[in-house]
Symmetry: C2
Subunit: 210 residues, 2 copies
C-alpha cells in the first residue's frame, strides 16, 4: 500500500462506496466483475475507478476485471476497517442513541465503550447494554480507557467543548454530527456529517427534476 | 440560472458547503471575501471555486472577490432552499426523532407535517408538536397532504417498502438514512446519507495520521 497522505480527499471519499457495492456483489455471490459492469453499477467511469484504485497499486486484471472478494478485502484494509476500534459517544439523546444503534446493528469492528450526557434523567440508562455516564466523568474515563474514536452528537453549542475534552483525552479521531465546524489539533482525524449539505443537495435534485 | 441537469454531481455536492461557509461569514459580519481567502477557508483551490460557480454564471468580481450576502443568497436560490418544503418522516424511533429535531432546530423552510411508525407504543406521541401516526395511515395521508419530501429513517428491511409508498404517494424527493440502496423512479430525487461511508473515511484518516 502506498503512502496514505498523498491520496486526495475525493478518492478517499469514494473508497467506502466502492467497498459498499462490492459487499453487495459479494452477498449476491458474484466472484468477479468487469470494470465496465462495475462502472455501470456505481456510476463512475471505468477510467475513474482504475485511476482511484491505482493510487493503491491497482487491483484489476486485463480481460478479467476485479475479483470481488479480494477487492472488497483490500479496500477494507486500505480504509483500516480490518482492525478494531473503541468508541465513546458524547451526547446521548435521540441522535446519540440512533448512532449507537446504527453502529451496533450495522458495523463490525467498532465497539462502543460508553456514552455520556449531561441530563440526569438519562444518565444510568443503557443502550444495547452500554451505559450512559455523567458527562463530568468523561475526562477520567478517557484517561483510563483510551478509546480510539469520539462521536459528538451533542447540540451545536456543546460540540467544541466535547471536542476539546476528547482531544485532551487522547482520541485519535472524532466523528462529528453537530452542525458546527470544530477546531481540533492536526494530529486528530475529524470527519463531519453535515446533514444540511445532504438535505440541500436533495432540494437541488428535486427541483432539477421538475 | 443555467440548466440544472448538466452540472456534475460533484459540483452540486460542494454548493451546500460554499453556502455553509458564507453563512458563517455573514454571521461574523463579513461583507466580502476574496477568492484567495475563501479558498483558504474552505480548502478548495480558488480556480476550483471559480469553475464551480461559473456553472451558474459566476458571481465574483475581479479585484473585489465575492459579496458574501449576495453569493449566500444566490447559492440558496440555486439549491432551491429559498422556497418551502413539506416533509413526512417514516420511521419515528431515535433516528427519526433525531432528524425531526435537527430539521426543527437548524433548518428553515422545511416543515414536518407528520411522522409515521409501526410501533403501537410510540404512535400518538408528539415530537416538537408533530404527531407520530400509524404507518398504515401513510398512503391515505400522502394522498391528502401531498408532501414534497419523504425522509426514511426505518431499519434496512423496511426502507424499500417505505420508499414504494412514498413514491406512489407522489413525493418529489426522498432523504434516505437506511443503510440500503433504494430503487425509486427517475422522476423522484433520492439523496442517501451513508453513515458507513463517513465512518470508514474517518478510520482511513485516523490511520494515515498515526
Amino acid at each position: 500500500m502506498k503512502d496514505h497522505i498523498k491520496v486526495s480527499k475525493a478518492v478517499i471519499k469514494r473508497l467506502p462506496k466502492y467497498r459498499r457495492y462490492l459487499e453487495e456483489l459479494k452477498g449476491q455471490g458474484a466472484d468477479r466483475i468487469s470494470s465496465g459492469e462495475f462502472s455501470k453499477l456505481i456510476g463512475y467511469t471505468a477510467s475513474q475507478i482504475r485511476q482511484d484504485l491505482n493510487n493503491f497499486g491497482g487491483f484489476g486484471q486485463q480481460g478479467y476485471g476485479y475479483n470481488v472478494e479480494s477487492l472488497h478485502r483490500q479496500i477494507g484494509i486500505i480504509l483500516g476497517i480490518d482492525r478494531a476500534y473503541s468508541i465513546v459517544i458524547v451526547g446521548s439523546g435521540n441522535l446519540g442513541q440512533a448512532i449507537a444503534n446504527y453502529i451496533h446493528n450495522y458495523e463490525t469492528g467498532f465497539s462502543i465503550l460508553a456514552m455520556f450526557d449531561v441530563k440526569p434523567e438519562i444518565i444510568g440508562r443503557r443502550v444495547n447494554n452500554v451505559e450512559i455516564l455523567n458527562f463530568d466523568a468523561l475526562d477520567a474515563y478517557l484517561k483510563a480507557q483510551l478509546p480510539d474514536i469520539g462521536v459528538i452528537t451533542t447540540g451545536a453549542t456543546s460540540a467544541q467543548s466535547a471536542a476539546n475534552k476528547l482531544t485532551a483525552g487522547g482520541v485519535k479521531g472524532i466523528w462529528n454530527f453537530a452542525p458546527v465546524d470544530l477546531n481540533v489539533p492536526d494530529s486528530v482525524a475529524l470527519e463531519n456529517v453535515h446533514l444540511s449539505d445532504s438535505l440541500h443537495a436533495l432540494t437541488y435534485y428535486l427541483n432539477s427534476l421538475q
